[in-house]
């Protein structure tokens, strides 16, 4: 069976290996440069007292490569679309299941070998990629925190890849046609990923809230934290959210009302206003990675069980 899998899918492996090799070279070259820039900057910035400007001074010329690294967020999806979705669907579409499943190995054996290899391949590729990206981003991680690039480093890229593959297999076993399987995998994967990232992930653990002096910007929040929301809090403890309307501002701070000068933060601070932020602290990064990865692994197990059912129980 391993031989059959290799003969049928070796070209996909060659292409994926070439793409990964090219990306590896690019990231190692640029990552090494970035790391040395970072070290030399901090070695000298204290002399000019410009260390706090690191975020704006470093890595300014690396826009394209940063975009490319951020784009690796789609890689797990590609395994689902181009490896997994056609895996079962193409057999049905071309009728070759009639050939494969009347040879001397059982349908279950055929499926297990294929499923095992596509998972091994997707996990290997995604694992290599996340190690590379995590290393490449280490200066950025030190400056702005890992939560900024939660989806492309740590262990979640592997979980996403496993999920994309399981989804592609499951959808392919329903539709038995390649194009509908690919289209549905695309839609379902994006839906699950976006819903999880936007609506579920912020609530993995109860967010912390912190009151900060008004004079500081949100940079006053703990370094590397994932800031969920922020706003003004009044002297009576009332939360105003992101904005405050002019009639809520103490009269003394209304500088020439509607005269175009607006409200001065210092005046509000004097009148007992603070700002507040809710956030997930940087120390929770790995806990969040673990929770998110677990969600996608559990979904994947369910999808694989479903695929077995569809392939083994339904008529070929």
């Amino acid at each position: 069976m391993n031989f059959l899998v290799w003969r049928l899918h070796r070209h996909q492996v060659y292409w994926a290996a070439a793409a990964l090799a090219a990306l590896t070279v690019l990231l190692i070259v640029t990552g090494t440069t970035m790391a040395s820039d970072y070290r030399s900057f901090f070695a000298t910035c204290s002399a000019t007292q410009s260390c706090s400007d690191a975020g704006s001074l470093l890595f300014r010329g690396d826009g394209a490569i940063i975009d490319l690294v951020n784009a690796t967020v789609v890689v797990p999806l590609l395994f689902g679309l181009f490896w997994a979705a056609p895996l079962v669907a193409k057999e049905y579409e071309e009728g070759t299941q009639n050939l494969a499943w009347t040879q001397g190995v059982t349908r279950r054996h055929w499926l297990s070998t294929n499923v095992m290899w596509v998972f091994v391949a997707a996990a290997a590729w995604a694992g290599t990629l996340t190690v590379l990206v995590s290393w490449w981003r280490s200066p950025e991680n030190a400056l702005s925190g890992r939560f900024d690039a939660f989806d492309i480093q740590g262990i979640v890229p592997i979980a996403y890849a496993i999920f994309a593959v399981a989804l592609g297999l499951g959808v392919g076993s329903i539709f038995r046609r390649v194009l509908p399987a690919i289209a549905t995998t695309l839609g379902a994967f994006l839906t699950v990923r976006i819903v999880t990232a936007i609506y579920i992930r912020p609530h993995f653990m109860t967010a912390l809230t912190k009151k900060l002096p008004l004079a500081l910007s949100t940079r006053g929040a703990p370094p590397g934290a994932w800031i969920l929301s922020g706003g003004l809090v009044g002297p009576n403890g009332h939360y105003y959210g992101d904005g405050i309307s002019l009639d809520q501002v103490p009269a003394a701070c209304r500088v020439g009302a509607f005269g175009g000068k607006g409200v001065t933060p210092n005046c509000l601070a004097v009148h007992g206003f603070h700002q507040w932020v809710t956030f997930q602290p940087a120390s929770r990064f790995w806990t969040f990675q673990g929770i998110e990865a677990t969600i996608f692994f559990v979904l994947s197990i369910a999808l694989v069980a479903f695929t077995y059912r569809m392939v083994l129980r339904r008529d070929a």
Partner: protein, 298 residues
């Protein structure tokens, strides 16, 4: 001796439509059986049930005493060639033979290679570049290389031109002559298969109408010619398959077990094709001549 194929009340329903119903057949080993019937009679359904690609809604089937299903013991004994001649388009015949060698315990690559070489089928080119006849030969080669004891072929010659059709059937006959192999070939045209078959299974209206050796079928069916008369489905102990009438004569195709004693009937032999067409409810091509009205009795 174990039967090559035995089914009891086998049926398959898709939604509300029965593709095959109440199919009970027995095929002894060593036969080359023609599975014939009109389009939609359930030939493909029967073959897919027999190889375990689909599951019956009712009844049961056995091949060499084993129920079709996911066991290597069963799979090692059957060979199957589906109607659309499925092969991996980007792989070559050599690739397919190499894969087969990895998937089957009792694989015979060299025999298949010799057969394909004799037919000048290129084995190193992708399947997509081969002609329909060459693909059918590759697929047959793969099915035979498995060394099955029961080989099931679904309309293997339907898409082939007459020459490729002939070569295919010759290859099959040679393989049958070499070893003890039971074969079922389906076709909606008996004519394609008659030369190589010694057994016939006729499906019509989703049911089995005939399942017997061709010699037995021929011996038990006669054409009776007599004065014009009305006939019922069973007449004087005869099973009337089909009746045609001319102005003053009645012609009956009957199935019978004993000689016809009534001297008013003139008894003649009838060809297998006529028998099969009669069961399918089709009318033979009218012979040329001064015919008057021709009506078909129900």
């Amino acid at each position: 001796m174990t039967l090559a194929i035995e089914t009891i009340g086998l049926g398959k329903r898709y939604g509300t439509t029965w593709a095959l119903q109440d199919c009970s057949i027995q095929v002894p080993q060593g036969r080359v059986s023609a599975l014939v019937g009109p389009n939609g009679a359930g030939k493909t359904t029967l073959l897919r049930l027999l190889v375990g690609l689909s599951r019956p809604t009712s009844g049961q089937a056995e091949i060499l005493g084993l129920a079709p299903g996911p066991s290597e013991e069963f799979l090692s004994r059957i060979g199957y060639l589906a109607q659309e001649v499925p092969l991996y388009r980007r792989l070559s015949a050599d690739d397919h033979l190499a894969i087969g060698a990895h998937l089957n315990a009792n694989w015979d690559s060299s025999g298949a290679r010799e057969r394909l070489a004799a037919l000048r089928v290129p084995t190193d080119r992708p399947i997509a570049t081969l002609s329909g006849g060459q693909r059918a030969q590759v697929a047959l080669g793969l099915a035979l290389a498995k060394r099955p004891q029961v080989l099931l072929l679904d309309e293997p010659v339907a898409a082939l031109d007459p020459l490729a059709r002939r070569e295919f059937l010759v290859s099959l006959s040679e393989a049958v002559a070499e070893g003890d192999l039971s074969v079922v070939l389906s076709s909606h045209l008996l004519h394609d298969l008659e030369r190589v078959c010694d057994h016939v299974i006729l499906l019509a209206s989703s049911r089995t109408q005939i399942c017997d050796d061709i010699d037995t079928v021929l011996a038990s069916h006669k054409m009776l010619l007599g004065p014009r008369q009305t006939v019922s489905r069973t007449k004087q102990g005869l099973d009337v398959i089909k009746a045609t009438h001319t102005a003053n004569q009645t012609r009956l195709l009957v199935r019978l077990d004993a000689p016809v004693l009534d001297p008013t009937w003139e008894v003649s032999e009838v060809s297998l094709e006529e028998i099969v067409l009669a069961y399918m409810g089709m009318r033979e091509v009218a012979s040329p001549g001064p015919l008057t009205t021709v009506r078909t009795a129900s």
